[in-house]
Symmetry: C2
Subunit: 316 residues, 2 copies
């Protein structure tokens, strides 16, 4: 199975035409692929075209791949026609398990077993989605962040019956297609990014519910505080830099006790020596052992660019 | 008291010379103020100068205020001398309550009661810090985000004995000084931004502790997923845009049930109709009622700039 090399794929089918399905279509078009969208209903066409046109303005500003063109886009309400020539399928239908299960049963029957089917699901597990599919080996979760044509993350994980080769092949395919795939170690609800985002979101809801902050104050706090850093570095590297010369080790040894403080409603895990070392070693490895001076320079350079960019946008 | 207009302040004293105290000194210098730093020990001088020089490169890149100059910087290890001419004092000594209490007792004795003393504390309450100060009315918490010379947020709140006028005056002063002050409604541990950041941090620690994700995967997920959005919009506005034409109302009505899902270890509050309406009204108010098309355009424009900026930094 999967006898086509990922870098030779030219034709992609996008099943579903909402913000995610349409966003994927825009992304693949900008990368130079031939794209066919399956619309559940022809009435979705106008909204899809508006989405593609909006996306295209941004994609042109970033820079299109060679050969990229809106002329390579087609659409249909016939599922068999939509997938007939596909070398890769990105599924983004509504998050309703029986709906997805039925779809994967049909796709299993009509799509060549050599073609990978990836689901944009943010909340369902592939083990459940692939339950009724006759060829589950080639199905995988590939969860993007909205808008998929501007944010590179794709969180990937197979279901119980997914072949290891499918995950590997898809990871390589997404890299060719200009995305940043992240293959997860375990199937956990919400994957990684949504869990982190959801933690912030729930804490924000608690604050509003308790009259501790307004909606606007929460947003102002993020945008003028930690937000710009998160565009440049993740929470671990930020603390690794925040620890100065001592890095993450200093940070954890110094601020470890703060994990007991009620600085959020989220109860922290026990900071065992295993966890401490996993965090420290992970930071050193991730940053290739770069020292504090170069890491903080990198952070500063990025923040300067973001500050300039924000000023520019404001004055436009 | 506080008979000087905030916009006429020219001389600022920064007490403490660590990353925060030094960062504040850099910020006020770049804004054109005369700055005197109090160093606990002359041995801190070299590190402080390195910090100021590093900061200055970034501050010049962003653009200095008229009259800004490193020549306006002086330092001393004599607290009375450091504060003698101050029209505003920013205190950033270590987060040790008895240390801060003793310092505020001394400052209460030696500093004119017309001068505001603001604390950079991230974890202590002003009610506790001001306990032994003879003039607590003019003391206030003003918590920055690191580095204070690049991130505009200042979270502000008084203690029980702080005069309302002090908070008002300081808010105006920080605005003049190029910061974005955020006056909180209640004194809560960790204020707003640190609570949100801590929620992410604890969820990340849980994931590493459980072997669900590596340090690098967590950071990759943020930087390539929600991170770039957080540089531009807070979590509320992001969902308001994410809800499409229906905005936050659509989002909450559609995804409210997801609050019951184990998408983070943080248990969500009950989504009462009061909370729902507070979120919806807050979003409409905050965005001045801008429609989906213009909000999503704003988000896209920012993400395009961040994508270009990241490419630029990488290729430097």
């Amino acid at each position: 199975m999967l006898n086509q090399a990922p870098e030779t794929v030219q034709r992609v089918s996008c099943i579903g035409a909402g913000p995610i399905g349409g966003g994927w279509a825009a992304h693949f078009l900008a990368q130079g692929y031939q794209v066919t969208s399956y619309l559940h209903d022809a009435a979705e066409y106008d909204a899809l075209m508006r989405l593609l046109e909006t996306a295209w303005v941004s994609l042109e500003a970033i820079g299109l791949a060679q050969g990229a063109s809106m002329d390579k886009f087609s659409w249909t309400t016939d599922l068999a026609e939509a997938t007939a020539q596909a070398e890769f399928i990105q599924e983004s239908v509504p998050e309703v398990l029986p709906l997805k299960q039925g779809l994967y049963r049909t796709l299993g029957d009509i799509v060549d077993a050599n073609v990978v089917i990836a689901s944009s699901t943010s909340g369902l597990s592939m083990t459940d989605i692939q339950a009724e599919c006759s060829t589950p080996e080639r199905t995988v979760v590939a969860h993007p962040f909205n808008p998929p044509y501007l944010l590179p993350l794709v969180e990937m994980i197979g279901g119980e019956k997914t072949a290891a080769q499918t995950v590997k092949w898809s990871e390589q395919f997404y890299r060719c297609a200009g995305k940043t795939p992240l293959v997860m170690k375990k199937e956990i609800p919400g994957f990684i990014a949504t869990r982190l985002q959801e933690a912030i979101w729930r804490e924000a809801l608690h604050m509003v519910a308790n009259g501790e902050a307004t909606v606007e104050q929460i947003d102002q706090a993020v945008v003028n505080g930690p937000g710009p850093r998160w565009a440049l570095m993740g929470p671990c590297e930020i603390f690794h830099v925040g620890g100065g010369e001592g890095g993450m080790a200093y940070c954890l040894d110094q601020f470890g006790p703060a994990l007991k403080l009620p600085w959020t409603r989220l109860v922290a895990p026990e900071l065992t020596s295993e966890l401490r070392n996993a965090m420290v070693d992970g930071c050193v490895e991730m940053t290739g052992g770069q020292d504090f001076a170069s890491l903080s320079q990198k952070m500063n350079d990025g923040l300067v660019e973001i500050a300039k960019m924000k000023r520019k946008i404001k004055t436009q």
